[in-house]
């Protein structure tokens, strides 16, 4: 709801895109649950994002193509008479790659503060790990906790991170347009 209030041109574009890929809605990203809270000069996010891959993307992943997922986080300060003020933004790049020799999926979360790399046996586990937000700390300055804040989260597949030859295909195919769209979550006090 708040997301629409903060409409920008991208919102409309993704809405149209969303309608277009309605047929593939089952295989799409979805921000299932996010619990933001402030803690000591940081915004801490917990929750998980469902990262459903379409068959084409799954196939590409299984063939060793690394995928990159972008998680965008925007912190807004609520204002009564004006539109909400954007306080901070973060962009998290997480990637997943199949390791053929070990038969595992390698998930690397380039989250600020925690550079981790995990090897997971199944794709499902790997995707779950990729979409999980385990007390993710996003550093922050100048926040007045008395005010009302909200967080917008969006997860999408980064086509630009794909190998060059794949990009035209990805751009022209709806199967590659995986995007959760913006979701808004209230920051707990």
């Amino acid at each position: 709801m708040r997301a629409c209030a903060k409409t920008n041109w991208r919102c409309l574009a993704f809405l149209l895109l969303g309608l277009a890929v309605l047929g593939q809605a089952a295989a799409d990203f979805k921000v299932a649950d996010v619990q933001p809270k402030f803690a000591d000069q940081a915004l801490v996010l917990s929750g998980n994002i469902d990262l459903g891959l379409s068959s084409q993307v799954e196939e590409a992943l299984s063939k060793g193509i690394p995928l990159e997922v972008i998680i965008e986080v925007r912190l807004y300060q609520y204002r009564r008479f004006l539109w909400d003020k954007q306080v901070a933004t973060w962009t998290l790049h997480r990637s997943i790659q199949y390791h053929a020799l070990s038969g595992q999926y390698l998930v690397s979360a380039g989250d600020p503060g925690s550079e981790t790399r995990e090897s997971l046996l199944t794709q499902q586990e790997a995707l779950k790990s990729l979409g999980s937000l385990n007390d993710l700390r996003l550093t922050l300055t100048n926040v007045a906790p008395a005010d009302n804040y909200s967080v917008d989260v969006r997860a999408s597949l980064d086509i630009e991170a794909l190998p060059t030859p794949l990009r035209p295909v990805a751009y022209t195919s709806f199967a590659w347009h995986l995007n959760s769209g913006w979701t808004t979550w209230k920051v707990a006090r």
Binding site: I65, L101, P163, P165
Partner: protein
């Protein structure tokens, strides 16, 4: 584009349209935007090609470049379509040169499209085949086998590690039972011992919920962290169920490691289960080979998967390049066709302008090739035509002037001039010709001579003489003809000349003629005057002796003869004397007529003169009857008294200016006119003579006009034309010199005489005398009396 008659109100939109057109021509269909766009696109394609080959610099920009290129191609396509549309509009409007442009364009496009299409088709084929050639089933199998071999080798290592780990777990179970008091510390030392014994990289003991009990790691191994590696929850859960976890982990930068987690069952009842994790880094040789196999396999798999997209990408790039090449070729075709057709179009427009009469058209010479030479020749031609045309115009003007000059001269010539062509058709005539011939010659223009003769029968002698003379073929001829007029004939002197021939054709004729009636009349008058003078001289001399002799005979013998013979003698002598008297009078008239002009001019008031003469007649009569002036014949002229009362009315203009004249001669004129009138009234029941004067201004000349009218029978019709000739008379005993003398005297005074019959009956003689400047200079002698005399 528009109908010529655009109103002023429509001017602004029209200008706007023209401005828009100019704008379109300059910025949309012009050369510059297309050239710039083409160059940019070529640059973008070069970069895109580099990007497709995984260049680091352009790799990130690949999508942007692709988008830019697609947009650029679309824009270029739009520009070209606009150009083509523009051209099509011109083609429909039949603008000169468009057909040629379109033909050239089609030719260029065909020339460009066919090779590009062929190259494109074979390139795509070659590209696809080339990419397919990268892949080989045997290589694929070899890689699979290599991977399998690697996995098998690693599995063997793994199994060893599992066995060792399970052995170690058994030892830990024992130790924990025997050395319970030692606690974690003793476990740590055991772990250290076991690790060293089995050459394990890292050995860690966990509780069931994942808490570290003890850990031992190879200090030489740089793991980058002090914390032991913790298995994830899934592994721990597996271990809790009593299962063994063994797997090869790929860890970040440190390469591959074997991870084995086994449950540790305590010997003591009730003691919690624990988990032992052994991490064994692969031997460097294994690690290197394994990584190599992994990366090669991954790359090959990736490549196999990307075969389709790669083909798509290359095909897309190639298609875009081919499209760009085509579009640039089309654009170049449009440009070249325009460029080539432009001078030809200008030439076509130029020739059209020349055809419409614009001979000043000059075309710009833009090139020095054959077309340039053609343009120069065209310019030279129009220059020459213009020069020739202005020259012909000038000579036409000169001819016009010459013609006007000739017309003026002919128009003011008193001689009649007619020209005929070689077939005797009337070509030109002057006003004098119409005037002399008394017909309207305008109707006869371009008509044959016979037509004139037929239309105007009176001209027959004239036309016949011309026809005869031309038939004779003389180059020059002259003849005198009599032309019958109403009551008299006119004499014309006709001269003809053959006009010079031109281009072997016979020339026409020019006929010049004059009315010489007056001249002949004058000659005749002069001859008559001479005769009269001689006759008067010859006859007058013997008359006086005859009269005197008769009087002497009468005087001497009248009383001497017998009574009975006296009467006879008396009658005879009287007759002689009377007849001699009459003869004398006649001779006097002759001599008067023949007398040469010796005018003694002085200013004369005509009104006074008229009154004098009329008064004289009144006094002569002696019998005054109110309102009636009985004029009677001059004694001895007719030989008998005619006491008929004739009323004389004077209508004299009181403002009549004086004229310079000989009063004696004028008196003679009045006398003759009054006598004529009186004689004419001999048989009229109520005879009236009206004498009037007035001033007339004609053609800037002032005249004094005198009119003498009577109400008698008028002049006989047959005589009207010859009234002024001597010896033309209707009277029994008249000499016919009266009017001749009048005319002569008036002409001596520079005046004119005109005689006519009035419509209401009676004759009228009008005399006009000029009012000379000298006479005008003197004070007017008029009296302010309206001289209506009824004497």
């Amino acid at each position: 584009m528009e109908s010529g008659a655009l109103k002023s109100g429509a001017g602004a939109p029209r200008e706007r349209t023209e401005g828009w057109n100019r704008y379109v021509t300059r910025y949309v269909t012009g050369v510059t935007p297309l050239a710039v766009l083409s160059l940019l696109l070529i640059a973008a394609f070069i970069m895109m090609n580099a990007a497709a080959q995984n260049s680091a610099l352009f790799g990130r920009l690949y999508s942007v470049l692709l988008l830019v290129n697609i947009l650029g191609v679309v824009l270029l396509l739009a520009l070209i379509l606009l150009n083509l549309f523009h051209l099509l509009e011109q083609y429909r409007a039949r603008v000169t040169g468009t057909r040629l442009t379109v033909r050239l364009l089609v030719m260029f496009v065909v020339l460009a499209v066919v090779p590009v299409s062929v190259v494109f088709f074979f390139s795509i084929q070659a590209l696809n085949r080339g990419i397919d050639n990268w892949f080989d089933v045997r290589i694929e199998r070899a890689l699979d086998d290599a991977l399998l071999l690697g996995r098998t080798a690693l599995d063997a290592l793994k199994q060893d590690l599992v066995k060792n780990t399970q052995t170690m777990a058994g030892e830990i179970e024992t130790i924990s039972v025997t050395r319970k008091i030692g606690g974690p510390r003793s476990e740590l030392s055991l772990l250290n011992a076991l690790r060293e014994q089995y050459a394990i990289t890292e050995l860690t003991l966990f509780t069931q919920d994942g808490k570290i009990v003890a850990s031992s790691s190879d200090a030489s191994l740089d793991t980058g962290t002090l914390l032991p590696d913790r298995p994830n929850d899934a592994i721990l859960a597996q271990v809790r169920q009593g299962l063994v976890y063994a797997n090869l982990d790929a860890i970040g930068r440190s390469g591959l490691q074997l991870r084995v987690v086994v449950p540790v069952h305590p010997r003591e009842v009730g003691a919690p289960n624990r988990a032992l994790q052994a991490l064994q880094a692969l031997p460097p040789r294994y690690a290197k080979l394994g990584e190599s196999v992994q990366s090669a396999f991954a790359d090959y798999e990736k490549l196999v998967y990307l075969r389709g997209p790669l083909k798509f990408g290359f095909t897309l790039t190639l298609s875009l390049i081919a499209l760009l090449t085509l579009l640039i070729a089309v654009w170049a075709a449009i440009f070249s066709a325009r460029r080539l057709a432009a001078p030809i179009r200008e030439l076509a427009e130029g020739t059209r302008a020349v055809a419409q009469g614009d001979y000043q058209k000059q075309l710009p010479v833009t090139s020095h090739d054959e077309i340039g030479i053609l343009v120069e020749s065209f310019n030279d031609m129009t220059r020459r035509i213009h020069r020739a045309q202005s020259q012909s115009k000038r000579s036409q003007q000169e001819a016009e002037i010459q013609r006007a000059y000739l017309e003026t001269v002919l128009g003011h010539l008193s001689s009649g001039v007619l020209t005929f062509n070689q077939r005797l058709m009337l070509r030109t005539h002057n006003p004098a010709a119409s005037h002399i011939l008394g017909v309207e010659l305008k109707a006869g223009e371009r008509k044959p001579l016979a037509w004139l003769a037929e239309r105007y029968p009176l001209l027959q002698p004239f036309t016949e003489s011309i026809a005869q003379a031309t038939a004779a073929g003389d180059s020059e001829w002259r003849t005198q003809i009599e032309l019958p007029a109403n009551n008299h004939s006119r004499t014309l002197m006709v001269r003809g000349t053959l006009l010079p021939s031109w281009r072997g054709k016979r020339g026409g004729y020019v006929v010049v003629f004059d009315d010489i009636t007056t001249l002949i009349q004058a000659q005749r008058n002069a001859a008559w005057g001479e005769v009269a003078r001689r006759m008067a001289h010859e006859i007058k001399n013997p008359l006086t002796p005859i009269q005197l002799s008769a009087e002497r005979i009468r005087h001497k013998y009248l009383r001497q003869v017998e009574e009975e013979e006296r009467g006879a003698l008396d009658r005879a002598t009287r007759t002689i004397i009377e007849q001699v008297e009459a003869l004398k009078s006649m001779v006097n008239d002759f001599s008067e007529y023949a007398r040469s002009a010796q005018l003694r001019s002085r200013p004369v008031d005509l009104n006074d003169l008229i009154r004098d003469v009329v008064e004289l007649y009144k006094n002569e009569r002696g019998l005054a009857a109110a309102g009636v002036v009985p004029l009677h014949g001059v004694a001895g002229r007719t030989g008998r008294k005619t006491p008929r009362p004739v009323a004389t009315r004077l209508e004299l203009d009181a403002d009549l200016p004086v004229v310079s004249a000989d009063p004696g001669r004028l008196r003679q004129v009045l006398h003759n006119l009054l006598l004529n009138a009186r004689d004419a009234l001999a048989t009229t029941p109520k005879p009236v003579i009206r004498v009037s004067t007035r001033t007339v201004t004609e053609n800037l000349h002032r005249f004094v006009e005198l009119k003498v009218q009577d109400n008698g029978p008028g002049f006989p019709e047959a005589m009207l034309g010859r009234l002024y000739e001597p010896y033309v008379t209707s009277k029994e005993r008249g000499t016919g010199l009266g009017l001749a003398i009048v005319k002569r005297i008036v002409e001596e005074h520079g005046g004119t005489t005109h005689a006519e019959n009035l419509k209401e009956g009676g004759a009228c003689v009008t005399i006009r005398l000029p009012v000379g400047e000298a006479a005008l200079a003197e004070a007017p002698l008029h009296k302010p009396v309206h001289a209506e005399t009824k004497a």
